[in-house]
């Protein structure tokens, strides 16, 4: 374990940024999101988490796949090269780090998503321990320890110092290049870790019970009568899906620039009315089915196909951001009650 004084943290960022692009939580017009670090950037490490999760650094909201151009009878097709920017992302919370494990299962299993794989390869994830969990947090329900956040390098802020510890080879490589770090003892972060633990014990959602909600109860949960009521207020916006660190659905669309066709992919949301729309129509005709899909996917289908791993990490973004405050916690509680009946 190594450390650097917090008042020298911009030197630390600058040293990383000298070698590769550095993304970290930046405050812009009141909202904290991951952005590229540059000298004088408004870094915010206090915010519980960013509005958008860091998944966008590996799976951007939109990216070009291919472009077509017609000249006379010639059609030329041009595909962009795989992304090659070397980068590090600093300040990823434990929940978001787990979110990447979930995305890995989707994008790195056959057939591998080459764009995502390239960014995962090029990116080094530096996680940051939580210091002040909030009432919306329920990561512990999924076995996540916010004080042991994982990633390639884990970091802690304690007693005016930033502590870092490499967990993978990539992480080692990153830290070995930083001469301004000094050696530190693991015990120094002890009090900070304990403090987080104490707060975690008090969280209102820490005992969220998911018994009965898993891949084995697909049909029962699918047919539940609760969905109509739960989804009644849903606006059908995409807030929950776009702030979610694990939502991974995308749409492929064409944009006619007048000179060529750009085919790109962009995040999609199962809450939208044209999701799953096909030539014959849409099998999910109302918001009830769309709403059900999102939560069934997170809590039932995904664990059914991934050794029981839920595709929710308890970050609490959807809990905080849903315009009408309907969220995965309320759904889990309602379904849980039914599963026990």
């Amino acid at each position: 374990m190594q450390k650097i004084a917090m008042d020298r943290i911009s030197e630390f960022f600058s040293a990383i940024a000298a070698e590769r692009a550095l993304y970290l939580p930046l405050k812009k017009k009141g909202a904290v999101n991951f952005g590229k670090w540059e000298e004088g950037a408004d870094v915010d490490l206090d915010a519980l988490h960013t509005v958008k999760s860091p998944k966008g650094l590996f799976f951007p909201q939109s990216e070009d796949l291919v472009s077509f151009k017609m000249q006379g009878k010639e059609i030329s097709i041009d595909a962009p090269d795989a992304p090659d920017e070397k980068f590090a992302v600093f300040g990823v919370r434990a929940c978001d780090a787990r979110g990447m494990d979930i995305l890995d299962r989707v994008f790195l299993s056959d057939p591998v998503d080459t764009y995502y794989a390239a960014r995962r390869e090029n990116g080094i994830v530096v996680t940051l321990s939580c210091s002040a969990p909030e009432e919306t947090c329920f990561c512990s329900v999924f076995g996540i320890d916010p004080a042991r956040p994982g990633g390639d390098v884990s970091a802690w802020i304690a007693g005016g110092f930033l502590y870092v510890k490499a967990l993978t080879e990539k992480g080692e490589a990153l830290l070995s290049g930083l001469s301004l770090l000094e050696a530190a003892d693991e015990a120094e972060i002890g009090p900070a870790v304990e403090q987080v633990k104490a707060v975690m014990e008090k969280l209102p959602l820490k005992d969220l019970d998911l018994t009965g909600i898993d891949g084995s109860a697909t049909e029962k949960l699918f047919a539940s009568e609760k969905w109509a009521e739960l989804s009644r207020a849903c606006l059908g916006c995409g807030t929950c899906t776009y702030v979610c660190p694990t939502c991974q659905c995308y749409d492929i669309r064409d944009f006619d620039t007048g000179k060529e066709i750009r085919r790109y992919r962009c995040w999609d949301s199962c809450m939208y009315s044209d999701f799953t729309r096909m030539a014959h129509g849409n099998p999910r005709k109302s918001q009830v089915e769309r709403f059900r899909q999102r939560f069934m996917h997170k809590l039932v289908y995904f664990p059914a196909n991934n050794d029981g791993m839920y595709s929710c990490v308890g970050c609490g973004r959807c809990v905080a951001k849903c315009p009408i405050s309907m969220n995965i916690v309320k759904v889990a509680k309602a379904l849980g009650a039914e599963a026990k009946e």
């Binding site: 017009k29 958008k52 707060v199 207020a233 995409g238 807030t239 702030v243 669309r253 949301s269």
Partner: protein, 325 residues
């Protein structure tokens, strides 16, 4: 507000019992004290109905769907929600006969984001006492004045009167109206140079994640199919691939609701990135007021709104100052 909640429940129970209404549209208590969800109640679950300083959601838009169903629905509308209601009645989107509007008093809605900014985080419980909020948080007890954490729309409150109501719950302890210059920020922006204005909006709108929450929550956005969802329109998109799309979506959305927007402020309330979208709507409202005469959308349920009206003496395009040059 507890007294009001009690009065609402009594009234609702009575109206359900005598068959005047078949169900009640209100807010259901959530996990915390602040995450109330719009919900429909019957006599059985009326106990879950809640009314406090966090019932921000404007229920008017839900009445489009509710009034198409069998029977009559009792709608709990705060004074500012009744403007949206009237506008929707005017546009024939709500069947007025199938709604029983119960006007309920409102003392301003608190904004949880503003509480967070004030350092009130990790909220477990909040007690309201007059204008003071006392929060029990994971990090100790914190208090603040509700006036300091009000939603933007409440800072420019339109007043305690209901524009449409079949019955009203009386406000036994009315609060003083907040005096806030509704167009102050619009004017401030107009005074900036075009470069500064461009910079302001660029940095605000670049935060947009295109979640469509502003559109879907908006009572004026009641189209069955939005132009931005219509593949045949050529502008359908699910992401802002270019900065142009960030601009276009918000300009067009604001324009489509111009003259019909009641300034209910739901768009700004729900924006996950905190974009001050009301500043676009208020610009249109201000231009309308200055050039076509004072107009408050939703103040009545029959007048023609400014963009479906004209006079022969209207100003010429280009004559309205969008801002300093």
């Amino acid at each position: 507000m507890q007294a009001v909640e009690k009065a609402i429940k009594e009234k609702a129970r009575a109206l359900l019992a005598d068959g005047t209404v078949d169900r009640v549209l209100g807010w259901e208590k959530g996990e915390y004290c602040y995450d109330n969800t719009p919900a429909v109640f019957t006599a059985e679950n009326l106990g879950n109905l809640v009314y406090n300083s966090f019932c921000g959601a404007n229920l008017s838009k839900y009445l489009i769907a509710e009034s198409k169903k069998e029977g009559r629905v009792l709608a709990l509308l705060k004074p500012c929600d009744t403007y949206s209601f009237n506008q929707l009645v005017k546009e024939h989107r709500i069947d007025r006969e199938k709604v029983y509007v119960l006007g309920i008093p409102c003392h301003g809605i608190a904004d949880v984001e503003k509480l967070n900014v004030k350092g009130v985080k990790g909220i477990e419980r909040i007690a309201e006492d007059g204008g003071t909020l006392t929060a029990q948080t994971l990090y100790g007890e914190k208090t603040c004045e509700i006036n300091d954490v009000l939603l933007e729309r409440c800072m420019a409150c339109k007043g305690p009167e209901h524009m449409a109501a079949d019955d009203v719950i009386e406000d036994t302890a009315p609060v003083e109206l907040r005096k806030h210059d509704r167009f102050g920020m619009v004017e401030k922006l107009e005074q900036m140079t075009p470069d500064e204005r461009f910079e302001f909006w660029r940095s605000e709108l670049s935060k947009c994640i295109r979640c469509n929450a502003c559109r879907n929550v908006c009572p004026a956005c009641s189209c069955l199919k939005c132009v931005f969802d219509n593949d045949a329109s050529g502008v359908a998109a699910k992401a802002n691939v270019d900065t142009f799309e960030e601009n276009m979506f918000h300009i067009i959305r604001a324009f489509h609701v111009a003259g019909r927007c009641t300034d209910c402020g739901e768009c700004s309330r729900v924006c996950p990135q905190g974009i001050p979208l009301h500043l676009l709507n208020r610009k249109f409202i201000q231009d309308i007021n200055k050039n076509y005469g004072e107009y408050q959308a939703g103040a009545d349920d029959s007048s023609a709104w400014p963009l479906v009206d004209y006079t022969q003496e209207d100003v010429e395009p280009g004559a309205i100052e969008g801002g300093k040059n």
